[in-house]
């Protein structure tokens, strides 16, 4: 029943899947940071990605700034916005023991952003069309879309920078310590608000980078973000919560699963199978696919 397709098609499927999945991955890296320090499922991440995509579109059509060049604007703006979102919305809730409050603020923010976008830009599908949107490049003997490949590079670079920041700087070390044990980290003199705000700033700037990738690759509308949040959660669980590089890998795996399911079974089942894998990983390998066995000190 299962015909094994020729290797070119398998390769094509794998490359397309991996390139698409990297976008889930970069969203998941942001979620992972925020979840790590605040234990918050930041459902508004997808809406922030779409907001960034609209911002990129406005920069392109309004000021003529190339979408990929606009990374230089979007990422710093994202850092600032993330910082403000934490200080304005989550600072108080972070101190509450009841984490439903933070979750609901995220939900409220999602509603707010989605509908503000609808008011400002209308509910119709928008897209960014450049001279290179339709062009392709040769990769491992397979033709792939140029913008998708750029999205993949953005995801790799973004994740790489975050990993370098977490491993190479003292502040990054503080963020990692806080994700492992907030109480102990606080006792060591790390301010929870500071690490939370940093996690948020980086998380939203990654949403900005993902927004650039989305804007150049897909048509989007104000409500397209939620599915991104859900997919990013799946990627997060696959990679292991708190594992930043794993989140990117989880996104790529999810993209591969989706591509294969679409080809071999049917497009209608993609989501069910993706979430099925998600549940299975949560149940049987909740530490994620890549974590080494946990050693007690």
């Amino acid at each position: 029943m299962l015909n094994i397709p020729p290797p070119e098609i398998l390769l094509q499927l794998s490359i397309n899947g991996a390139l698409g999945g990297a976008m889930y991955g970069v969203a998941a890296v942001g979620l992972s940071l925020i979840f790590g320090t605040m234990r918050l499922i930041f459902l508004a991440q997808g809406a922030m990605i779409i907001l960034a995509a609209y911002f990129v579109r406005a920069l392109f059509y309004g000021l003529g700034i190339d979408p990929f060049l606009s990374l230089l604007i979007v990422v710093p703006v994202g850092l600032g916005v993330g910082w403000l979102i934490y200080q304005g919305l989550f600072r108080r809730a972070a101190a509450e023991e009841d984490r439903n409050i933070s979750l609901l603020i995220a939900v409220g923010l999602m509603f707010l952003v989605q509908n503000l976008m609808t008011v400002v830009w209308g509910g119709n599908t928008a897209a960014v069309v450049t001279t290179y949107t339709a062009s392709g490049i040769e990769l491992l003997g397979v033709r792939t879309s140029f913008t998708r490949s750029m999205g993949f590079l953005i995801a790799l670079a973004g994740t790489g920078l975050v990993v370098l920041f977490l491993r190479g700087t003292l502040v990054g070390k503080a963020v990692r310590a806080a994700s492992e044990d907030m109480e102990a980290a606080t006792l060591m003199g790390i301010s929870p608000h500071r690490v939370n705000a940093i996690a948020f700033a980086i998380g939203i700037s990654l949403a900005g980078a993902a927004g650039v990738a989305v804007a150049t690759t897909f048509p989007f509308n104000p409500f397209a973000g939620f599915i991104f949040s859900l997919k990013a959660l799946v990627a997060l669980a696959l990679g292991g919560i708190g594992n930043v590089a794993g989140a990117l890998a989880g996104g790529i795996i999810l993209g591969l699963i989706e591509a294969y399911v679409q080809y071999f079974i049917s497009g209608g089942w993609t989501n069910a199978i993706a979430y099925g894998v998600f549940l299975a990983v949560l149940m049987f390998k909740p530490e994620g696919l890549f974590s080494r066995p946990y050693k007690k000190a």
């Binding site: 409050i101 609808t118 549940l279």
Partner: protein, 321 residues
């Protein structure tokens, strides 16, 4: 305010709401359909309150149970799987039929047991919340791919017939809201309720005292699903067209969650109060600024959480009768 006084106020309120239905012209008034939705959301809020407020297990999958109840009712009705030839003799037999509604709840509860046993035995806290969120999406896709039986992406249409009044919806909704609150009150005063609170407050200690924590948690999850399923059934009698995007809308989970938190998680009156207040705010926004009302909804949620994090009832942590 003492608990006793609160009970009296609640009883008077219910009596007034029930009698108001029979005032001349009441059925045609806008307030009538408004109250129907308040009841519906209050039932959903109470369902979430049972598993998350009293049980401490934050489920993000109650929209799936709502949708399962709605689908069960619509399928039973449109395919006439339940009453056979009796349906020809009494064409209204499915309309607010207690058996059909209970089956809606039972299907949801069964799904909750099937998914709850593995999830709750393995997952805690955030992981359980994530798992239930994934489960909701799976149920939706399964129903979209259910072929003729579930009507695919379009869904199922129940035969509306000649029903032209909201009166039964209103009364059944009110009755269910009160019934669920009374049932929870009895439940939380029983041995089981004590066990549930114990599991919420300290699972390890509860387990050490001989409580089968998995059984207690799964039962709360299934009970919550049952209530949500019955609410879905009630909604079917209002909307008649049950489609994957309408009844599995995430708002059926998020809004009741928010109403419960605004009213007071883990209290008996909180979810009802929260449903009333929040739905009133949303509806006012819809009337006053129709173009911007979802923006206002988002703002309201944020403001409510920033300034009312403990809920209107402000008795969290204490066991309220």
């Amino acid at each position: 305010m003492s608990a006793r006084m609160l009970n009296w106020i609640a009883a008077l309120g219910v009596a007034a709401l029930a009698l108001a239905a029979f005032l001349p012209g009441a059925v045609d008034s806008y307030a009538f359909s408004f109250l129907f939705f308040v009841f519906l959301y209050a039932i959903m809020a109470q369902a979430w309150n049972l598993v998350a407020g009293f049980g401490g297990q934050v489920s993000l999958g109650n929209h799936a149970f709502f949708g399962l109840g709605a689908y069960t009712t619509a399928i039973l009705w449109s395919g006439n799987y339940l009453w056979g030839s009796l349906y020809d003799a009494y064409p209204r037999i499915y309309y607010f039929d207690p058996v059909t509604m209970a089956l809606g709840g039972l299907v949801a509860a069964l799904a909750a047991v099937i998914i709850g046993l593995p999830l709750l035995s393995k997952l805690r806290g955030d992981y359980f919340a994530l798992g239930t969120l994934g489960f909701g999406e799976i149920v939706k896709v399964v129903l979209i791919n259910g072929g003729d039986f579930t009507g695919g992406a379009f869904g199922v249409v129940a035969p509306a017939g000649t029903f032209d009044t909201l009166l039964p919806h209103y009364l059944v909704g009110l009755g269910l809201m009160v019934g669920v609150a009374l049932a929870l009150r009895l439940l939380m005063r029983s041995r089981y309720g004590l066990a549930l609170i114990a599991v919420r407050d300290d699972e390890m200690a509860a387990s050490a005292n001989g409580i089968d924590t998995l059984k207690v948690k799964v039962a709360a999850f299934a009970g919550s699903a049952f209530i949500a399923g019955v609410a879905g059934s009630l909604y079917t009698y209002y909307i008649f067209h049950v489609g994957p995007d309408s009844v599995f809308d995430l708002n059926w989970m998020l809004l009741p969650l928010m109403m419960t938190v605004v009213g007071g998680t883990g209290t008996l009156f909180g979810p009802i109060l929260g449903a009333f207040v929040m739905y009133a705010v949303f509806d006012l926004a819809r009337i006053a600024v129709p173009d911007y009302h979802p923006v206002i909804s988002g703002l309201t949620i944020i403001l409510a959480m920033l300034f009312l994090p403990k809920g209107l009832m402000r008795v969290r942590g204490r066991r309220v009768a």
